[in-house]
């Protein structure tokens, strides 16, 4: 069964590689993008890593990740100009399809959950199959020609851009931290000032640290890799807590930090500008009370559900 899963996954990764290669080609054709060479290299390297990652030597993949980092450092990765949505197609579609326009999304969610729960294939293959099935359904519903499907695919993939692979890079960073023993070291440091062994204090420390680090960095995903390695595992999971519960609630505890930080520009400062508000902190002020209550609630939830 594991062989079947791996085989299916390598097909799915090859499909992602194909999407990325297409994004690379379309980037090269976008003459308005001043850094199209760097951006195209970014997409082609990712395409190679996704499609052939199992066969190329790890040191080569590592070098490609490093080059992507260098390209990003010198601002050589930019989205460029994307094809605009055609308002006529959108209006006609909304009229003709009505609520059915949501059907592919619902099928995607249901297919992936059903495959994960009721087949031995697991959640990852489920997502992949769900994506393919829902795409076919969307093509049938919209009666879109292949050209349109191609155009929408490359538009979406390119619009996601470098932030789209950030989660995967952070997961990579988590491995580097673990390999180098960063978590052990911080745990040692913290245990000098903080007593390990108390379930409730461990949970409170982890949830508050998630919120606080997210507040400082403005990004819960980045905080998650660091704080879970440094605090979540030694102070909560190592005491016998259920890792699934701790991880799930740990992440949403981080979101409480996102609610109150001006660092999360997309969520808290962009609306101020968009809505032409006078009060720069106007959005955060509306969120602060709820953020504090939710953090307290989540400390309680984690304590009762995880042990």
């Amino acid at each position: 069964m594991q062989n079947t899963i791996n085989f299916l996954l390598s097909i799915l990764y090859a499909l992602i590689g194909l999407c990325m290669a297409v994004a690379g080609i379309e980037t090269l054709r976008d003459k308005t993008n001043k850094v199209r060479i760097g951006t195209a290299v970014f997409w082609f390297f990712l395409a190679i890593i996704f499609a052939f990652g199992d066969w190329i030597p790890a040191v080569v993949s590592g070098a490609m990740v490093l080059i992507i980092g260098i390209l990003a450092l010198f601002k050589q990765i930019q989205v460029g100009s994307l094809p605009k949505l055609d308002p006529k197609t959108a209006q006609e579609g909304a009229k003709r399809l009505g609520a059915k326009v949501f059907l592919p999304s619902i099928v995607l969610a249901l297919t992936s959950i059903l495959i994960a729960q009721f087949t031995p294939l697991g959640g990852q293959v489920g997502i992949g199959i769900g994506a393919v099935v829902s795409l076919i359904l969307a093509i049938i519903l919209t009666k879109a020609p292949t050209k349109q499907v191609f155009k929408d695919s490359q538009r979406m993939v390119r619009s996601v851009g470098a932030p789209g692979v950030l989660p995967q890079l952070l997961a990579m960073l988590g491995v580097v931290f673990t390999t180098c023993g960063v978590g052990k070291l911080t745990a040692n440091m913290i245990s000098h000032v903080f007593p390990a062994g108390n379930h409730f204090l461990g949970v409170a420390l982890y949830c508050i640290a998630m919120a606080l680090f997210t507040y400082i960095m403005g990004n819960a995903f980045a905080a998650f890799a660091v704080i879970t390695a440094a605090i979540g595992i030694p102070f909560v999971i190592a005491q016998g807590a259920n890792p699934v519960v701790v991880a799930a609630i740990g992440m949403t505890s981080g979101y409480c930090g996102t609610l109150v930080t001006p660092m999360a520009a997309n969520f808290n400062t962009l609306p101020v500008a968009l809505l032409e508000m006078k009060d720069q902190m106007g959005v955060i002020k509306q969120q602060a009370t709820i953020a504090v209550i939710l953090l307290v609630v989540q400390i309680g939830l984690m304590y009762f559900l995880a042990f």
């Binding site: 450092l73 197609t89 006609e92 789209g164 508000m277």
Partner: protein, 224 residues
């Protein structure tokens, strides 16, 4: 000199705070951590390459993009906008609560909206302001309107944040699952979804009440 390997964490924090390019910051943090731990460069590249390849599952959501692009170009947004416009006769708090529900349901089905740009600015905030002026028959002051705008944006964030991990292929769920695997614990994406349900429901109830209370507060506003 063992503490030097904590420089990686420092780089992450400083880099994100100073808004350096996030991709670059993460790669540099990995390199710095590895080198200061005494790893040789080739070995470090191997660790980076191997772990990046092994964590490809985090990016599985790329496979859902063609479908999302297709329904988007065929009126997903137009349909939602038309549906919301039918809410006119409700109180301000109720409009906010219906939008909260829509936002959480969209999260469940992995429909990622740019809520602030696509809904709050053009639709929700103006409708809530109109409803507030209508229900008490008064012209609101600038600072009162600011409060409504802030609340409209806040409702979008509440619904967005605490429901997005209800979708099994969301970036957050895949990142949690993959990071936990790197840290040595097997965590199933579906398990994360199930354990996110309580906080999604609590957030909904809490914000629902918070918005109804907003209706009562508005009654006391002076207006112009």
């Amino acid at each position: 000199m063992e503490y030097l390997k904590l420089l990686g964490i420092l780089i992450i924090v400083v880099g994100f705070v100073l808004k350096w390019d996030t991709t670059a910051v993460v790669v540099i943090a990995a390199i710095v951590t590895g080198l200061f731990s005494g790893m040789d460069f080739v070995k470090l590249l191997e660790v980076i390459g191997k772990s990046f390849v092994e964590n490809r599952m985090v990016s599985l959501f790329f496979l859902t993009l063609p479908m999302i692009g297709l329904v988007e170009s065929h009126g997903l947004r137009d349909y939602a906008v038309n549906a919301i416009k039918k809410l006119k006769k409700l109180t301000a708090g109720k409009i906010l609560n219906i939008y909260l529900l829509i936002r959480e349901l969209a999260g469940v089905f992995g429909i990622s909206l740019q809520g602030q740009v696509q809904f709050v600015r053009p639709l929700i905030a103006p409708m809530v302001i109109a409803a507030a002026e209508d229900q008490d028959n008064k012209k609101l002051t600038e600072s009162e309107i600011d409060l409504i705008k802030g609340r409209s944006a806040a409702v979008d964030n509440f619904g967005n944040f605490f429901a997005q991990n209800l979708f099994v292929a969301s970036g957050g769920v895949l990142l949690i699952s993959s990071t936990m695997k790197s840290l040595g614990y097997k965590v199933d994406p579906v398990g994360i979804v199930l354990n996110t349900i309580p906080i999604a429901i609590i957030t909904f109830i809490l914000v629902f009440a918070y918005n109804l209370y907003f209706d009562r507060q508005m009654k006391k506003w002076e207006g112009e």
